[in-house]
Symmetry: C2
């Protein structure tokens, strides 16, 4: 019996092995197809990735040929390799990151080079035995101190790469076995090659299809606010009508999931803001554009997203809202949600078009009014006859929506602050054509109208997908 089963197992193993072998080419083909489609998607999601790759290729080829050609080579010697290195390491996806690294690298090399020459000279005065001891001490002291300084959060955010290059250059220069005059020549060559490589990167990244971290941050913040707006615009009808049109609801799910990426956008926003501070004025952004205010708006947006996460979990709870409970607060709640959604979408449009967010104010006012009337409604004791357990889900949603109205007000306030800090333009006739501040009561009847999407400038619309990607990329690339 056991033998038989062992044989059987063996045969099964062989069969499986044979089957696996037979499937190998097919699996390989599948894998290749998968990779190809992934690659295509990656490029289509953000064509700037392809352009960036080509830019890096171009810069590196130019600098490599500079390294290759003998006349230049004789002039710079091995130092020319620093130009190649600089290009590979400094060329980043956004202009801000490239500039930041370039400046860090240049200044750190200059400073550490000077200090290194000094240390080398000082050590050489102390005799044959003292020299290595003193040099070792200098290197140890400098590396330990600089490494510790890199732990300071503020310094890490902006000068981490500079400190790394500082450690490196100091060590290389101070311990090099050259004579003082040789070192100076070497330092000069290295600095000029780094300058050549760095400028190639900066010039290419600014002149050929530049990717501005500031513009990315700008549209990321607007996009995040819009995502919350999309959710809230649809939430009311989604929640209160969910028993009726389950099918339709499922088709629409995308706008209900959009907010989720907002929950974890903090790191991306912060790194973009850090890069943006390195960037010169460009397009509609001045040099000292208030990037910090974007982070404040982002924080408030995230706080609103946490409330929405709580709301979203209500959508999936099994507890069915009873019709008699529902219809009593449906209109007011839907209105609160829709008006908040519209306000947020108007705020997003205002940020995108860099205009004063005056059109959002009426929606904020509408939502506050709806919140007030909800409170009055609840005070009137509408459900005295209903079972409290049945009422709870609806009341919770109402209460969370009251929170959301609160958050929306705060976001609106911070966007107003941003508008005044960044000198957004005032528009006399708002661009939003469906704007009906005079008839706020009709607004709640059409929660599914997508009002603002078409007004988004197409350039920014194109940028939507890759903002957080470029930020993530920035976070991962550093050094030497």
């Amino acid at each position: 019996m056991e033998m038989g089963s062992a044989n059987h197992e063996k045969a099964g193993l062989f069969a499986r092995g044979w089957w696996w072998l037979k499937m190998l080419p097919e699996k390989f083909k599948d894998k290749v197809t998968e990779i190809a489609s992934n690659t295509k998607k990656l490029g289509q999601d953000d064509p700037r990735r392809v352009i960036h790759s080509l830019k890096v290729g171009l810069a590196l080829t130019l600098v490599s040929l500079f390294y290759y050609y003998q006349p230049l080579y004789n002039n710079f010697g091995v130092s020319a390799m620093w130009a190649v290195m600089t290009v590979v390491v400094v060329f980043e996806f956004t202009v801000g990151a490239t500039l930041g690294k370039g400046v860090n690298r240049g200044l750190a090399t200059l400073l550490a080079g000077a200090l290194g020459v000094g240390a080398h000279h000082l050590a050489s005065l102390s005799g044959q035995i003292g020299e290595p001891i003193l040099l070792g001490f200098f290197v140890f002291l400098q590396a330990t101190t600089s490494t510790f300084i890199r732990f300071f959060p503020k310094i890490k955010a902006r000068y981490d790469y500079g400190l790394l290059i500082f450690i490196l250059t100091f060590a290389l220069v101070s311990v090099s076995g050259y004579r003082d005059d040789e070192i100076l020549e070497l330092a000069h060559k290295r600095l000029s090659t780094i300058l050549i490589g760095g400028s190639a990167c900066v010039v290419l990244s600014i002149l050929v299809c530049p990717v501005w971290a500031g513009a990315d941050l700008h549209s990321l913040i607007a996009l995040n606010i819009e995502k919350l707006g999309n959710f809230l615009e649809g939430f009311g009808s989604e929640y209160f009508n969910k028993s009726e049109d389950d099918q339709e609801a499922k088709d629409d799910k995308a706008f209900l999931q959009g907010y989720k990426s907002v929950l974890n956008s903090k790191a991306a926003e912060e790194s973009l803001a850090n890069f943006a501070r390195w960037e010169p004025g460009h397009g509609r952004f001045q040099f000292r554009h208030p990037w910090i205010q974007y982070l404040k708006v982002g924080t408030l947006t995230r706080q609103c997203a946490y409330r929405i996460e709580a709301l979203h979990s209500r959508l999936n709870s099994d507890t069915q809202v009873l019709p008699e409970v529902r219809e009593k607060i449906q209109e007011t709640c839907t209105k609160m949600s829709t008006e908040c959604g519209k306000a947020l979408k108007d705020l997003a449009t205002a940020i995108r078009t860099m205009t004063k967010p005056s059109s959002a104010d009426s929606h904020v006012a509408n939502s506050t009014a709806a919140a007030k009337s909800l409170r009055t409604l609840l005070k009137s004791g509408i459900w005295e006859d209903a079972d409290l357990l049945q009422v709870i889900p609806a009341v919770t949603v109402a209460s969370l929506l009251l929170d959301v109205v609160n958050c929306t007000e705060k976001i609106a306030e911070s966007v107003h602050e941003l508008a005044s800090l960044a000198h957004f333009e005032t528009v006399s006739s708002p661009i939003v054509p469906e704007e009906k501040p005079q008839q706020p009561n009709t607004a709640s009847d059409c929660p599914h109208v997508v009002v603002t999407l078409t007004e988004m400038p197409s350039v920014l619309a194109e940028n939507k997908n890759m903002t957080s990607e470029s930020a993530m990329r920035g976070r991962y690339i550093e050094v030497m």
Copy 2:
């Protein structure tokens, strides 16, 4: 009149200037004191930072002297500088990050070096005019492809640095003006110096006070769960008794704020998990420890934190809960919250001590039972005479707490899964001395007892503050 005011202004300006000058030394002193205290705090928060800095200093000094000494220098020539570079760039805070970068750097250099030699040889066959064209083409193709590959999220997470070094080495080797045999010698020297530098880093980072990314992830996850537990344990009495002991409440605020860091811990957790996968088995962790499961636990913890954020906003809302409303659900709600808190803290302890989280089960059961009795209570229509608006805050809190109970169950489930995947030990007698699973009803009477803090192993307790710091650090440091 105008003159007078101008004079006055001028005098004021001078006075202010003088005052500013007089204050300068004091300001400078203040600044120095501030920096000194910041530095001290940074070191005290995580003494491992100081040790890491000393380790880097030591490694760099060793390798620098190796570079300095003439006999060795003659052997390796300028290539010895690659050892210095490698140390500066590869030495990271955690063992995993150091190993990952070392392996990436070594393999990428080997592979790109071989390909570069091939490209160089191929180009040299095509005559004087063809050579630079072909070389430029190779470099362009390689740099463009590799840069694009770096955009793939999975590759970026683990091999970003390797690809960068690949681009760099290929360009340097293929365009170098040397003859083929010279190149081979150069490549050999460079590879060995990189190996020397890399091994120095790896050996030092593993042997001298190692900082394991895996252990950090482990304690970060436990700490985050514990923070939520602390909040929930205190929340009940904080919310329902807030009118009575406002003063005491303010003293305790720290445990109510702790959860906030959990909201944004995703990036830190992911980067630690990435580093941990490079690490060999160490201490209580095997080589293939289920790090991915930690991320799952972390995600569920964060989802619970979002609910807690909604609960927290209830604490600060102006709406006062009426005593008659409060006292009806106070006991059940407090019990739900406290039991969830205890369950979470037991789960955290179970993770820390790597034991099966059996003691948490009774608390989870208690909280589920309390949730059930809350539902029954609400069904009984306790507030039929109360004003609904007055009831809303309490009902919302109750409903959010029901959500939290749900989340806690999920977290418990995922920790159980982790325990079985990572083969946590079964304890016959739970370590928790205050554990009273037989008398669950008494538990809700003492929500402020801090049960588990003292049981945390002191080594891990020491690690608490810097886990996310070390993760952030990892995210910022890269390349060449």
